[in-house]
């Protein structure tokens, strides 16, 4: 892994004069080629290594070329990950709320999709993936926050490449991750947040919390957690711990739903939830196998362990529930599958099938406990278990990644030292997210208020906020 870092660093160093040129003079396609580092650009980096070690000449031959196979897979993955939010997550959450809130809940996912698309284009992508001012081992402002030199996607042309795929594809692929992360949080404050406050919160959160965390973990050399060696293939820390902890903070700041624990709040239509969970499962192949940013053996292994872990976690939750509560519920097996998908996210691309199996089983059982017992013990109202499933599942996956990593798959072998690094990564993410989320929510509460009125909450968000309802 160290060699990989070194070669990446050299590659950036070699290319950096060209980078400046690219921004000044217009058409220099090969110069714009490698700018930001994808989560796992092992293949191109290795290919570039010999050139980097060789003396000065022969630079042009080693500029990465577009790989049409990888590009085709990444176009597909991008569509799959978008499918996870709309309609997947919208249905998954929509089915779990009471009927009077189903449209409001689905609206949250849909509106976030639209808004984050624009914000990501304007500034989010630049904050997350711009590498200006970054160097291996140097911790400065840019280790946490990318510069705005890619704002409005400046410099991204038809021929710009990220690794071996067009930058436009990489940018859009990452955009779908930026979309689903705040959408996941909505599960925690379902049924009670004002739509306007929800929009402000998720918009600010995306720029001030999501993009910086993504930058720290994925932007490459000089990124704070990247340099620490934290392994996160597809977003265990960036997406799931991030969203889960933000959800927990939001649930605590907003307080429980009216009548929580006293009135029935059973899901109104679990068929929607099952369809949504199934779409999440399918879409997750784009999420995890797509995070290889290549169509290669590592992507294939990521896909295989994703499927294995998800099956194991669905069974883990189902049996845990069956044994302790007497019946294997449909909501339970669907929740277990999502817990498995969450937990394998950081690990896919690093672990083998056995690691995937264990991670899945553990995640299914632990998330069952967190969503059913922990929540009641601590008495917070995380309505749809954004923290219980994504937060806890993400933590389980991130830590176990350090233990089960296989060197021949992801370049890093599992060890106790790596487990410690993973725990540090988890703690940094939790701290940054918790503080950032808390500040944003408190400011918004002062400025505009976060909750709907009691009357609106009783009436339901559909009628009160959107003037529509489902019969």
């Amino acid at each position: 892994m160290k060699k990989l870092f070194a070669s990446l660093g050299l590659m950036f160093a070699l290319l950096s004069p060209n980078l400046v040129l690219a921004e000044d003079a217009a058409p220099a396609p090969e110069a714009a080629a490698v700018e930001s580092a994808a989560p796992a650009m092992a293949a191109p980096a290795e290919a570039a290594a010999p050139a980097a070690e060789a003396p000065a000449p022969a630079p042009a031959a080693e500029v990465p070329k577009l790989d049409s196979g990888a590009t085709a897979w990444m176009l597909t993955s991008t569509a799959l990950v978008l499918l996870m939010t709309i309609p997947g997550l919208a249905l998954f959450y929509g089915g779990m709320v009471r009927k009077k809130n189903v449209l409001g809940t689905m609206m949250q996912s849909f509106a976030i999709t639209a808004m984050i698309t624009v914000l990501w284009m304007v500034a989010g992508y630049s904050i997350a993936f711009d590498t200006t001012g970054m160097a291996k081992g140097v911790t400065n402002f840019y280790s946490f926050f990318g510069s705005l030199s890619k704002a409005f996607l400046a410099g991204m042309g038809k021929d710009s490449l990220t690794g071996v795929i067009p930058e436009s594809v990489f940018m859009t692929f990452q955009m779908t991750f930026a979309i689903i992360t705040p959408a996941l949080i909505t599960g925690a404050f379902a049924d009670r947040m004002k739509f306007s406050a929800m929009m402000w919160f998720t918009g600010l959160w995306s720029l001030l919390v999501y993009a910086p965390i993504a930058h720290m973990v994925w932007s490459g050399d000089g990124g704070f957690m990247w340099d620490m060696g934290v392994l996160d293939f597809a977003g265990g820390t960036v997406v799931h711990i991030n969203a889960g902890v933000a959800g927990l903070v939001a649930a605590l700041v907003l307080g429980p739903r009216l009548g929580y624990g006293k009135e029935p709040m059973a899901p109104h239509n679990l068929t929607l939830t099952v369809i949504g969970a199934a779409m999440l499962w399918v879409g997750w192949f784009g999420f995890n196998a797509g995070s290889a940013v290549a169509a290669d053996g590592r992507a294939g292994m990521a896909m295989a362990v994703t499927q294995i872990a998800t099956g194991a976690a669905a069974l883990g939750w189902m049996f845990a529930e069956w044994m302790s509560k007497g019946k294997p519920s449909v909501l339970g097996i669907a929740s277990g599958a999502v817990a498995g998908l969450v937990a394998i996210t950081p690990a896919s691309g690093f672990v083998g099938p056995t690691g995937g199996l264990v991670i899945g089983l553990v995640a299914g059982a632990v998330c069952f406990w967190s969503a059913t017992s922990l929540k009641r013990m601590l008495k917070y109202d995380d309505s749809l278990d954004a923290f219980g499933v994504h937060g806890i599942g993400g933590i389980v996956g991130a830590i176990l990644t350090g233990y089960f990593a296989v060197e021949s798959i992801g370049g890093t072998a599992g060890s106790m030292a790596q487990v410690v690094t993973q725990i540090e990564g988890v703690l940094i993410t939790i701290a940054y997210t918790a503080i950032g989320t808390y500040i944003i929510l408190k400011v918004l509460d002062l400025v505009m208020g976060l909750r709907v009125t009691e009357e609106q909450e009783r009436e339901g968000l559909d009628i009160a906020l959107h003037g529509e309802r489902v019969e």
Partner: protein, 112 residues
């Protein structure tokens, strides 16, 4: 004239309707209702949150008939709605003072 109200298990509705048609009942009204009797409710469990559902779904049938048909109507419902298990429902009988067919203005037994 008599007015018969029966609360039955929903899945028995078709059998009851057929049995009533067979003895010459020409019309009835059906409503989906909820309630409880000796059967009590059931519990539902969603991610550890337990809800006791007190009111179970039932079907209410209402039939207006001539008095002489009463015994056969009761018998038909009783037989066709019976499963032998708790929660089969009940039959209520009341006297019916007047019936008017709106279209023709007929009243009394002729309107049935």
């Amino acid at each position: 004239m008599k007015f018969v109200t029966a609360i039955i298990k929903p899945f028995k509705l078709d059998e009851v309707r057929e049995a009533l048609s067979a003895i010459g009942v020409t019309g009835l009204t059906v409503t989906e209702v909820k309630g409880f009797g000796r059967q009590k409710g059931h519990t539902e469990l969603y991610r550890g949150a337990e809800y006791v559902v007190d009111f179970l779904p039932k079907v209410k049938i209402e039939v207006a008939i001539k008095a002489e048909l009463l015994e056969r109507v009761i018998e038909a419902i009783e037989k066709s709605a019976n499963t032998g298990k708790i929660g089969d429902g009940k039959i209520f009988v009341t006297s019916l003072e007047q019936v008017v067919r709106i279209r023709t203005g007929e009243s009394g037994p002729d309107a049935l």
